[in-house]
Structure formats: C-alpha cells, structure tokens
Symmetry: C2
Subunit: 356 residues, 2 copies
C-alpha cells in the first residue's frame, strides 16, 4: 500500500501516520522516512505490538492511538477464536501491547480507555471498539489544534524557536504537539526561524521533523544536537519547544534523550522552554521524574553509524532513549486544558483534572 | 601499505598515526577506522593538504605534525624543480598547507617553525627540514607524556571521567592530550570509568576514541552526545577532560563542536572541566574566542546518516565543527609548561611563555 500524502484531511499538513482502512490498521513506516514513503498493513495485535517496539510508529500520542487500534484487532481475533468468551484472550493481547514500550504513558492511557469500554460490551466487540479508537484519533487532532493555539499565544513576534526529536503530525493523529505550536505560530507570522536538532541516535529530527516541516513549506535549519548550546550563546532562540512522553505530577517531564541537555543550556542562556503535550501524557501516579521508567535500547542505534563491524572489546554502549527534565527548568507546559506556568504540583493538577 | 599497530614505540599504546618511511609521509587513514586499518602514502605537499582537509588525519597536534612533513615534501619538490631557486615555489606550497583547515592553530605554528628553519638553508633543504619535523614529532610525544602526568595529578582516586571527540594518540604523535591524561591516570589506578560521547557529526568518539582505548585495554562507555547532561545529573563524573584546537590569550578554548555544551552541563552539575593541550595550541594573538575562526563544513556530514537522498527543499543544515568554551567554564588548562587554573590572561601568559 503506497499513497501520496496530500489527499487526507489532517489539517495544514497532509501527514496522518495512522489510518484504519479496509478493516486493517495502516501505519506510515517511519523507519524508512525520508527516503521512502511506505505503509504497513497490520491485522493482528501482536504485529501491532511489534510495530510499536520496532519504531514503525513513535511519538507518545501516536503510540497510544496505535495501541487503541491494536485493541480493536485484539478484540476481533479473540471474538473469532472464542466467541462470547473473547475477553480473556483479548486481555492477553492487551498485555502484549502494553509492554511494547515503557516510557510513553499514552500507551497505557489508551489501553485503559479501550478496556473500560470493552468490559461493557456484549456480542461482537469490534464495531464499538473501532468507533472508540476513531473517536480518540479525532480527539487527538482537535487537541493538537487547541494546544497549537495556546502555545502560539506564548510566542512573541519575529521569534526563533528550536525543537528536538519529532513531536509533529508523525507523532500524533496529525498536526502535532510541539510542531503543532510551531505550525500555528508560523501561520500567525510569529516565527522567523525554526531550528531542529538531528536527535541522535534515531535521527527523528533530520529524518522526520525536517521532512515533515518541508512538506508544509516551513523552513528549518538542522544541526547536530551538541551544537545547540553554541547556538544559544551566539544567536539565542526565543523558545525551545518540545513534546513529552510522560509528565509527572510535579511537572517533571520525560522526553527524548537530549531534551534535558537542551533545558540546561536554555536556562543557562535565558532561553525559555515549552513542553506541549495532551493531558493523556500526564501521569498523576508518577510523583516525580524518578517514578518514570527510562527505556534503554540496544547498542546498534549508536554503533551502526560508526562502523559496520562489531563493537570492540572493552567498549560498552549506553543508549537511554529518554531523559527527565525537572519542572524547575520548564517555563510552560501546554495542554489542551490550559497552560501550567510555572509547572508544579498545583498547576499540573489543575490542567490534568477532567474538564467540567 | 598495511601494517599492524603493535610494533612501534609510541609508548603504552601502539598507535602512532603519522610516520615517515622510505622517504614518504604515511598517514593512518582515520576516515576508515575502526572498520579498516589502512595507511596512505603521500609524496607531495598538495596531497598532504588534501589529506588534512579530507580528515585522513585530524586533531590539532597531528595536523601540525602532518603539515611539518608536508613542508618537507614541499621543499623536496621545489628543490627538484628549481634547484637553488626553490624558496618561492616552497612558499606557494606552504600556503596551500596553511589553508587546509582554519581552526587548529598548530597548523600555522608548525609551518612557522619549518619556515624559520627553511629561510636559513642553503643547498638541498630536505634533510634539515626532515630532521626538524622528526624533532617536532618526538617533542610532541614527550610533551604528551608530561601533560599526562600533570593532568593525572589533578584527578583524585576512583574517578569517573568523560571525554569528547578524540584527543588521543590518533590526534597527536602518539599517547594523546586528553587521552594521555586518561592513560596516565588509568595506569596510576586513579580511574574507574571512562565515558566518551560519540561526537557527531564525524563520530570521532565512537570511531576513534573507543577503538583507541580498546587497543590499550581501557574500558570505555560510549553514549550519544546529548545523553551527557542526564549522566551528569544521575551519576556525575569527576572530570570532563578534552583537548583543544586553539586557546586564546584569555583562556577561551576552541574545540570540537559539543565541547561547549559539555562545559555548560558540567558547570550546572558541579563537574570539573579540564583542557589538555600543548603550548603550540595557544594563540596569544587571539585575544579571546571571538578571534578564533570556526570551521563550517558541508551538510553531508550531518545529512548522510539520515538519508541516502537529497536534503529536502526548505531544509538547511548548519555544521559548525568547533565551538568556543569561555575560560570561566574551565577549571584547568594543562600544558607541558604547567597548569593554568583558573585559566585567565595572567595564567595563560605564564604557561605560554617559552621555557627558560
């Protein structure tokens, strides 16, 4: 299944990485971008869990939505195999999905929501669960647009901004969190320049963010992650704007490795720091960043670009793919429920509370 | 010309990247490491300038020594072509060498020293210039051993240290500057752990430093450059130890891109910061880092790992390969003439002065 990206309705951008079509889950294979635009068709929850683990899809909200569709596939398989006794087989598949990646809490959030509905269903569960997943996807897009507006209002005029990783349409249902703010602010005419770190080791910045922004005609300057501090010293941007994989109750933020390094450099140079994430990313059960598990991935993501050979004896590779930025280094957390600024237990509790 | 690396006399390590053999300059091709150990034979100054520009050899002291041997080749060519009128042709070749790379002042320092001798020579200049280049190479090795001792004395016991780029045997005549300190301190039993950033974009950390330390049996943990700040927060090392490409009169240091980012994170977390470089790296004509030219290289070094394709329209790539760390973020500059701590105009002038 190959298609161009300009014909859907994701908003300003044509990019929408998760689609349900012909009764199967279609994921834009983000491992191949920007060289190839190719879609994978998934028909089982197990394949969906594998796709999440293997980074076919990444980005906390997109992982959550993918898992929601994975739950639809799990229910279908279980119903076909067991009929009215489908629930226990469904639960086993859900466990697989839940364990696919550890850091993004949206995965658990999405499955909890699907399970709450599943528990109420009699008869074939597929249609009701599919409707729920599609609702969540539509909500995510709406939430991104609302956050885009709230975040853009924080940006002055003639601003330079820097982002990290990809918190864009590719990381969500469409439009994006951090890139949603940048899209809105760009459309407003508030932004004169966007910088993006290449985001080692997986290069989400150069592979995904650069490609995504170029699709929308938003110019971007890529740089090595380690070059950001020198940029901040010489030509400081007005804001660093990033997404989040999990936000603790005290406002600590887990996000892509390198986020904390940027936050330290930003504070050192007086650059403001904005985190943009839906409330599904807030985990009130995590008191602080210490309670958030940090995924460690294999050495190949670091080593493979250095050599085609084996890692030499005596050399070990550390590859934590997320880090924790403490709340005190963050100026604003933007959610669809409002802005926590400064982020702390009180302001996070306020935005995390369900809307009246 | 291929050879094993264990048969020469560089000291603890067998690695010596620059050799004069059979009347030609042999350079260990650092573009191919660690996958291949291959030597290039250079017979002209022009080829030597190309090799410097193309990163066959890199590291400020090694660039200087390579240029010194390039001057020998320039003199030989000029003598063969012009006889006793060799000086003007020699000078043209020296200009080529001097322009090969802009940031490391050792290149200029080495050529100035060779030119001073060349100006005094009558008859075939090759033997005298070769002897001078070989003296410089031997001096560099001795200087590295002395700096290794001075730097190691600053390190306590049971220390963890982090380095960046490659300031090792591969960047010098042998033994290394920052890695010379680490080698000495490791031999002393002062060090329990070495961390190295992979050093995007050229990956000197993973390709060269990891390989070099593994050759010596010193274990090292590689990490993405952007992961250092999180490491400093969770398990702060005792020291960051790096080399330098140029040191200004006020103690500002030009070094591989990412050095400044590490210095900011080190200061933020109370990690001490050491720069190790011979006095040939000090440029008293540069008042501060503002006077040091920063080389900007092409986009491919960033882009090629992200995609085999073209950089998308609207995407630009910034690739400054050095940055400036201001003196106030550096705890000690170690040279063969002593330690400037804290580095400032007075302490730098003291160590830069010629020995009595």
């Amino acid at each position: 299944m190959e298609r161009t990206l300009t014909s859907n309705n994701a908003g300003d951008t044509g990019i929408q990485p998760i689609r349900w079509a012909d009764g199967v889950l279609c994921l834009l294979d983000q491992r191949l971008l920007p060289a190839q635009v190719r879609w994978l068709r998934l028909e089982t929850a197990g394949d969906t869990a594998d796709a999440i683990r293997d980074l076919v899809v990444r980005g906390a909200p997109a992982i959550g939505l993918t898992a929601a569709y994975g739950a639809v596939l799990a229910a279908r398989e279980a119903w076909r195999a067991r009929g009215s006794e489908w629930q226990s087989m469904y639960s086993e598949q859900i466990s697989l999905l839940a364990q696919a990646r550890p850091t993004a809490v949206n995965l658990r959030w999405a499955l909890t929501r699907m399970n709450a509905l599943a528990a109420t269903l009699a008869g074939d569960p597929e249609a009701a669960l599919l409707a729920e997943a599609q609702t969540m996807q539509a909500e995510d897009l709406a939430v991104n647009r609302r956050m885009g507006r709230l975040g853009a209002e924080l940006i002055g005029t003639d601003a330079a901004v820097m982002t990290h990783c990809n918190a864009g349409a590719l990381a969500t249902a469409g439009y994006g969190t951090a890139l949603g703010v940048i899209r809105t602010a760009w459309t407003d005419g508030r932004i004169r320049r966007v910088y993006a770190g290449e985001t080692r080791p997986w290069l989400q910045g150069s592979r995904l963010t650069a490609w995504e922004l170029s699709q929308d005609g938003i110019p971007v300057t890529l740089l090595a992650d380690s070059a950001a501090a020198q940029l901040f010293r010489r030509e400081p941007p007005d804001w660093v704007i990033v997404g989040a994989d999990r936000i603790a109750a005290n406002g600590d933020v887990a996000n892509k490795i390198g986020t904390y390094s940027l936050a330290v450099a930003a504070r050192f140079h007086g650059v403001r720091f904005m985190v943009v994430a839906p409330t599904s990313t807030v985990d009130l059960a995590a008191e602080s960043g210490l309670d958030i598990p940090i995924e460690e991935r294999g050495p190949d993501e670091i080593w493979s670009v250095a050599s085609a050979g084996e890692v030499p004896e005596g050399v070990t590779v550390a590859n934590p793919v997320f880090d924790i930025t403490p709340a005190h280094l963050i100026d604003a957390i933007v959610t669809e429920n409002g802005v926590a600024s400064p982020p702390d237990a009180e302001s996070v509790a306020r935005i995390a509370a369900p809307r009246p």
